[in-house]
């Protein structure tokens, strides 16, 4: 009995043990060895398993005795129920994960000290563990190159391309990519990165290129670029098996110089164009215009790098100022291969203008390191004066009356009128063209017979006519049928009443019904004398007539009836 009691106690303790263990707080640490490259920050993940009700103080993490800042990754919950000796026990645990980074270290074996954290007021620690930082092996078949492709030195607004090329032979999964060229400040990225893969001298080459535009002058140092990774093989199912050692490649640091434009000799018409250019200006509209008419100029700037080209402020150039009115919207340049094309709209304001003056365009020649100015040839133009408005006189007194009701000399009053307003007023002329139509609803509607839908009248009309043909056919058929019936009915009636006159009428009607004769005959003598059924009918009826007049047969006997029936049935 005592033995049984002891066994029960041991069993109870054994079953209770996992529950007791689960009730404790457990702190563990884990290092991602694959990511732990030489001199790279090492990620440490701290896992805290606890009862659901217990709270973790995130600000209380310590590495050995040093406080550390951790980042919360996430939580997961687990629930379990155990029934022992009829007693139900519920257990709810929460697992939280946090991470922090250790500074990069050279290759070697290191100890990760215990990490402690306060959970619900009590500190719990992980066990210390060891980890190894592996040195990446530098090999010829895994190489990184960094370069800047474009003009050197660069000038502001000039464009270049930052390029990284990775040379490799085996498949590589990169674990570290430190490419500082792409994060360089002082350059504006143009578009997206272009990735190109090709084979060169037995190497697979992956080229990553980014177009950039220099923004400000300065000297930019780019530290060394690093990539690390593991070569791998892939089996039939796509599973990868990584090969050690870790591979590493370092590209040399780069220095990029963006020079400032020299202030000395900088022309007023310089707006940042760098390179060598040609200027081509031509007039697109006719060379004789009236004041205020639009003149279009085509300005084409050809050169090596037109991305830096901006149209100078022509409005302020000599010969244009005050003599031409420019569009409020600046012309938008259109890049066409190696040229930038602008269409400039301007309106002459004076009849004294005799030419479109020469247009100046300046650029900086990076090879000669000096500014160059191009001038287009001036274009002769004839500007005609506007016709003096007739309505001006008529309108002026009205305005004057509004200002001053007293009758005073008009000349004095005109002087008082605001200068700009008067200019506007003076430009107004009579209407040169006939006025607008007052649109009516019929002008805004489109009737179907005035569209191409009207052509559908052909099939519809044809259908209507075809329908009428069918209707007519049906009609005549029906009439014929009715007539046919009438002939037979009359025949049967004549036989029944044994009436010779009626019999003759029945034969004549039957001939008409069956289309044997074209018109209706009133006596048998009128029937044509011909062979065939008509002739037979004629003979039969004449014979019958003779007998009737002879007084031998006043009515029909059986023989005559049979003969009549035979002939009647022959009329088909």
């Amino acid at each position: 009995m005592v033995m049984v009691q002891r066994f029960k106690r041991i069993l109870f303790c054994f079953c209770l043990l996992p529950a007791i263990v689960m009730a404790e707080v457990e702190v563990t640490t884990n290092i991602n060895i694959v990511q732990a490259g030489e001199n790279n920050p090492i990620e440490v993940v701290v896992t805290v398993v606890r009862d659901a009700g217990l709270k973790v103080d995130v600000s209380s993490f310590f590495l050995k005795n040093e406080p550390i800042k951790v980042e919360h990754i996430g939580d997961s919950s687990q629930s379990s129920i155990s029934i022992i000796n009829g007693r139900r026990r519920d257990s709810h645990t929460t697992t939280s994960q946090y991470r922090f980074f250790l500074p990069g270290k050279p290759a070697g074996l290191y100890v990760l000290p215990p990490v402690s954290v306060r959970v619900d007021g009590t500190f719990y620690s992980s066990k210390s563990s060891t980890y190894q930082v592996q040195a990446g092996e530098v090999r010829e078949d895994f190489r990184l190159e960094a370069s800047v492709e474009g003009p050197s030195p660069l000038y502001p607004r000039q464009r270049a391309t930052f390029v990284y090329r990775i040379y490799f032979k085996d498949n590589i999964e990169l674990t570290v990519e430190k490419l500082p060229l792409f994060d360089l400040e002082g350059f504006r990225m143009i578009g997206r990165k272009k990735i190109n893969t090709y084979v060169q001298n037995g190497y697979n080459v992956q080229e990553i290129a980014q177009d950039v535009e220099a923004m400000d002058p300065g000297v930019f140092h780019v530290e060394e670029s690093i990539i690390e990774g593991f070569a791998y093989n892939e089996d039939f199912f796509g599973r990868r098996s990584y090969r050690k050692p870790r591979l590493r490649s370092i590209a040399d640091p780069i220095t990029i110089v963006v020079e400032a434009f020299p202030e000395e000799g900088k022309p007023e018409t310089f707006f940042g164009a760098v390179g060598t250019f040609q200027l081509d200006v031509e007039m697109l509209t006719k060379d004789t215009v009236s004041i205020g008419d639009k003149v279009e100029l085509s300005i084409r700037i050809n050169g090596s790098d037109v991305s830096t080209v901006q149209l100078p402020n022509i409005e302020n150039q000599e010969g244009f100022r005050g003599l031409f009115r420019f569009s409020d919207l600046p012309p938008v340049g259109e890049i066409e291969k190696s040229s930038k094309h602008y269409i400039l709209e301007l309106r002459p304001l004076s009849e004294n203008i005799q030419e479109i003056p020469s247009i100046e365009f300046s650029y900086f020649d990076p090879y000669r390191k000096r500014y160059q100015t191009l001038r287009s040839r001036s274009i002769p133009i004839v500007v005609k004066a506007l016709r003096e408005p007739e309505s001006q006189e008529a309108l002026q007194p009205q305005i004057v009356h509004e200002k001053e009701p007293q009758k005073e000399p008009i000349e004095e009053e005109v002087v008082d009128v605001d200068e700009d307003w008067r200019k506007n007023f003076a430009d107004l002329g009579t209407m040169e063209i006939a006025g607008n139509y007052q649109l009516e609803e019929s002008n805004l509607k489109q009737y179907f017979w005035m569209t191409w839908n009207a052509v559908y009248v052909i099939p519809v009309g044809s259908g209507i006519l075809a329908l009428q043909v069918q209707l007519r056919r049906y009609w005549s058929k029906r009439t014929r049928k009715q007539r046919r019936k009438r002939g037979r009915v009359l025949f049967m009636e004549a036989i029944r009443q044994r009436d010779l006159g009626q019999l003759e009428a029945a034969f004549l009607l039957r001939l008409l019904e069956k289309g044997k004769v074209s018109r209706r005959f009133s006596t048998s003598e009128e029937l044509p004398q011909e062979e065939g059924v008509i002739g037979d009918v004629r003979k039969f009826l004449l014979a019958l007539e003779e007998r009737r007049f002879a007084g031998t047969h006043q009515t029909l006997d059986k023989e005559l009836i049979d003969q009549a029936k035979k002939i009647f049935e022959r009329i088909l």
Binding site: E296, N436, L444, K445, A454
Partner: protein
Amino acid sequence: MIRFKIGLKRCIWVIFLISSFTVYGSEAFDKAASAYESYVQGERATSVAERQDSFNRALALYTELAEEAAPSGQLYYNIANCYYQLGEYPWAILYYYRAEKLCPRDYKIQQNLRLALHKLGLDDKKSRSIFQKILFLHYGLSVPERLAVFFVLSVLAIITASIYFWFRQRAVKIFTTFVMVCMCVCFLSLMISHYFSGVHAVLVHSSPLLRDAGHHYAPVLETPLLSGIKVEVLEVTQQGQWLKITTLDGTMGYVPYDAIRFI
């Protein structure tokens, strides 16, 4: 009961459709009235700014109307006038041509078109030949007008043919034959317009006439083609980016699509 319900449903639909057309019609009419008011305001304006503002407002309304309503010669003429008043002569010419296409006998359109062409230093070389005068139906009537004539003739032909069919009158037969001949002539004229007449366009921006489709080709003429010129479009190339055209004097070349608008 069910039949009554269906009938009621149809009635409601018909009423809805009619009312929607009426609403649209009145909206368009209001817009047209407002545009006309703005235009007249522009004509009576006492300052350049006011005039430009009014004409611009009228143009915006008329252009909106042109997108919503059916194309009409009078509407195009009004748009052209707005462009003219704003000094955009190439666009004015384009719309005058469009208006002329729909109202070929409108004197006001022809007069204003001549003025607009004159503004750009272009000549209106159009003069009617005897041939064109004889074929008045083809050259003197617009396509919608010819379609209306064709429709009327067709209906008349169907009616007279039906009468003849039932009554066999000689006079009706002669009249029906005459109407049908007229109808066929009209139909022929429409088919010629639809399938054989050239596609015309107007240059709204001056552009050099190039030897092939691309800016890198040499120009055919030393001077660029002036805006406002009427040309015939022969071919569309490079996914509609370039058009092969021939000028009225027969010079052939390519211009970019942006420079041109179809009449």
